[in-house]
Amino acid sequence: MGLLEMINFIVPSAIFYAAPLIIVALGGVFSERSGVVNIGLEGLMVVGAFTGVVFNLFFVDVFGDATAWVSLIVAIIVGMLFSLLLAVAAVSFRADQVVTGVAINLLAVAATIFLVKKLFDKGQTDTIAVNFSRIDIGWFNQIPIIGDLYWTSILAIVLAFIAWGIIYYTPFGLRLRAVGEHPAAADTMGVNVTKMRYIAVMISGAMGGLGGAIYAQSISQDFGHATITGQGFMALAALIFGKWHPLGAMGAALFFGFAQSLSIVGTSLPFFSEIPTVFLYILPYVLTILALAGFIGRASAPKANGVPYIKGNR
């Protein structure tokens, strides 16, 4: 592979790999910016992937080619409802948010696989018939490098910029950040901390569901225990790596994607093909650590992140 082909290959596949991570990480940004730690992203993704695939399988006759898109909407809704579990515990019940997140993850896997067994009576679903695939517009595909894109990738990037706009330029965003930094202050200013945190967590639910559904319908094309295996945690990493900033999270996810693709292209490079494959397997993770230690440095979380807000308590 020549250099140009390599770039031509790496860039799109990096974006492709990153898309679900970006979206899920964005959800995390909202939740944690409001002060609710979200370890449950993995679980939310699982629920989204499950919903997407199952809905797709059952309603493909109804919606035809649009099925994949409709499934996304359904996954968003289900993800939101599921995230209510986290919201209620973390906001209303003053629960330890990390524990709750862990519980969410366990519950998501157990419940979805259980349902799959009920619905299909086997451990994984059939393969979906209608899925997302590359954009198919003549002129578009001619564009070098990015030509080889997916609507879902574009959606992810657009969402990142929208999230950025919302968080930094709207009243909602201002209040969101205030609630995550200094809830008492926001409270005395008449901002409803509870409401803000509920909304934020449910956004993360929606995004988690969306990301999971996109992953399942564009990559695995079925759902089982092997479908979502750690992507949610990679999204969590992306959100911290990106310093709780929407565009930062996007950048981090793209970085993962880049590293991942590089490790795959690697084999076709003279230098890489010499060294044992294990070094290629771990390349993405090592690169991430080096990047963090090297030039990214300290990431400072929202001050009130993980702290339940109790009126009149300092």
Partner: protein
């Protein structure tokens, strides 16, 4: 009805503990009404009730004659009640404007209209002569400025009843005078003010009437013009008291602390201490007078090893401790009462007993061969709590649950009991009641009389004047002058602190060592 605020027979409980017990407070329109009481008397609680942060268990609240039920700060805001909290309610990484408009933002096409907002903030701040920069980040502006932002927040919401909870506790003299002017202007504009402060002088200066509470109970209300500081003090504690720091002559001996043209940068890398020289001797209290932000913080942190030294030399009793780790410095015989008791002074989630052991936990008798003996910690804690009259249920109570005054007493006890050659006390009486202040001052003097050296950093002129034997004026990272309290007036000192020193030219050259 002439009263804008009436709090009648208010009762507030925290679990079994009664913080407010049948307290009545009536505020007239256009007056400055002072609220006085010892630490933990229940002032903040009462105000938090008025502001809707706490719901009272009993009593009635009337605003402009109307009986009201203030369920949360929103309601208070709508009723025109604004509160300047003791611990500022500001989002550190927001701009002034963002903090002020938060909650009722003005928008253009769904986007926050920052330009318009900051214009309005600017206008408002000019109207009341607050001159704050609407676009500055909170973390970059001085405590005084932050407080003005708090005031602006209330004004922006059209409050005409303002509550100030210990507004002067963390201000420099200049800032205090300015604040007082601001309050007076506010009253002229027809606003009413409730002022919590421990400084009787301020009460005498600005307030029209004073309501005193003692241990959660209302003692009564007096007209300021018809009373005097001593009467107020006695009402506050419930017995005849005379708060006057008695202090004999000092007999300085050989040098303990010697600082030679020390240079220190702050966390941004900006030089804050610029070739500073200072000497503190056995048996004397040296007060560092200066306006906040002239390098005091960096100076202390450099001495105690909490911050890197860029240049110069620090020696303690002849031992070079420049750039040494905090523990080395401590063991060289330094005690440190830190400026920020919640950040450096205490592990708030630790029992107060552990906090008292924070400097000695690793030494015998508490620790032997890496094994720690908590019963020893408890013994020590009980002793110090007793001796320094720290008001707490037990040594096992989390530090967080103590009132600031008592938290401070615990820290003083911890540091003084180690009997260090040099005791550094940074703003040791911030936020404390007169009784506690007097107590702490006499501890410092006691140390001096026992031949120890004391370095006192304070923004409060009278504290510096009363307690120090020698005053070093710090300005722009240098000691620009040294004066003796007895032959200097507060005015002169104030001018020096502002950097207006006739002897300033000599400042660089005062190598008195």
């Amino acid at each position: 009805m002439e009263y804008v605020i009436e709090m009648l027979n208010i009762r507030k409980e925290f679990g079994s503990f009664v913080a407010n017990d049948d307290i009545t407070l009536q505020v007239k329109k256009g007056e400055i009404h002072a609220l006085l009481g010892e630490n933990g008397a229940g002032k903040s609680t009462l105000m938090n009730v008025l502001f809707g942060l706490y719901q009272p268990e009993g009593g009635e609240i009337r605003v402009r004659g109307e009986a009201v039920n203030i369920t949360d700060p929103n309601v208070a805001n709508k009723l025109g009640i604004g509160m300047v909290h003791q611990h500022f309610m500001l989002v550190e990484n927001f701009t002034v404007t963002e903090n002020i408009i938060l909650g009722n933002e003005m928008t253009k096409a769904g986007i926050v209209d920052k330009r318009k907002a900051s214009k309005r903030v600017k206008k408002l701040s000019e109207q009341y002569g607050l001159n704050v920069d609407p676009n500055a980040k909170i973390e970059d502006i001085s405590v005084g400025m932050q407080q003005r932002v708090e005031i602006l927040k209330t004004l922006y919401r059209g409050a005409d009843i303002l509550i100030f909870d210990e507004p002067t506790a963390s201000l420099t003299p200049q800032e205090i005078t300015e604040l007082i002017q601001i309050m007076q202007r506010l009253v002229q504009e027809g606003k009413s003010i409730i002022l919590i402060t421990h400084k009787l002088k301020e009460i005498m200066d600005v307030s029209d009437r004073v309501t005193i509470i003692r241990k959660g109970q209302g003692v009564g209300t007096v007209v300021t013009a018809e009373t005097n500081p001593n009467e107020l003090a006695s009402l506050m504690v419930g017995r005849q008291v005379e708060f006057k720091t008695v202090k004999g002559e000092a007999f300085p001996k050989d040098t303990v602390l010697l600082i030679e043209d020390l240079t220190v940068a702050d966390y941004r890398g900006v030089e804050k201490v610029k070739g500073l020289n200072l000497e503190v001797r056995h048996g004397e209290i040296v007060g560092i007078a200066g306006i906040d932000g002239n390098g005091q913080t960096e100076l202390i942190e450099a001495i105690t090893g909490l911050r890197k030294v860029k240049g110069g030399k620090i020696t303690i009793s002849g031992k070079d401790v420049t750039g040494k780790k905090p523990r080395k410095v401590t063991e060289a015989g330094v005690g440190h009462i830190p400026q920020d008791r919640h950040k450096h002074g205490l592990v708030l989630d630790f029992p107060i007993g552990h906090n008292i052991a924070l400097q000695t936990y690793y030494q015998a008798p508490i620790s032997k061969g890496g094994v720690i003996h908590y019963e020893k910690i408890a013994e020590q804690a009980k002793r110090i709590i007793e001796k320094y009259d720290v008001r707490t249920q037990s040594e096992a109570t989390p530090a967080r649950a103590l009132s600031g005054g008592n938290q401070q007493k615990a820290i003083i006890g911890r540091e003084v009991e180690r009997d260090p050659d040099l005791l550094i006390a940074a703003l040791p009486t911030r936020g404390l009641d007169v009784g506690a202040i007097e107590f702490i001052h006499s501890r410092l003097i006691e140390q001096r009389d026992r031949g120890k050296a004391v370095l006192l950093i304070s923004f409060e002129l009278d504290e510096v004047m009363n307690v120090s034997d020698r005053i070093a004026v710090i300005y722009d990272g240098q000691i620009i002058d040294e004066v003796l309290p007895q032959d200097t007036s507060e005015q002169e000192l104030g001018l020096l602190m502002a950097g207006q020193s006739d002897r300033k030219t000599k400042a660089g050259a005062n190598e008195h060592v």
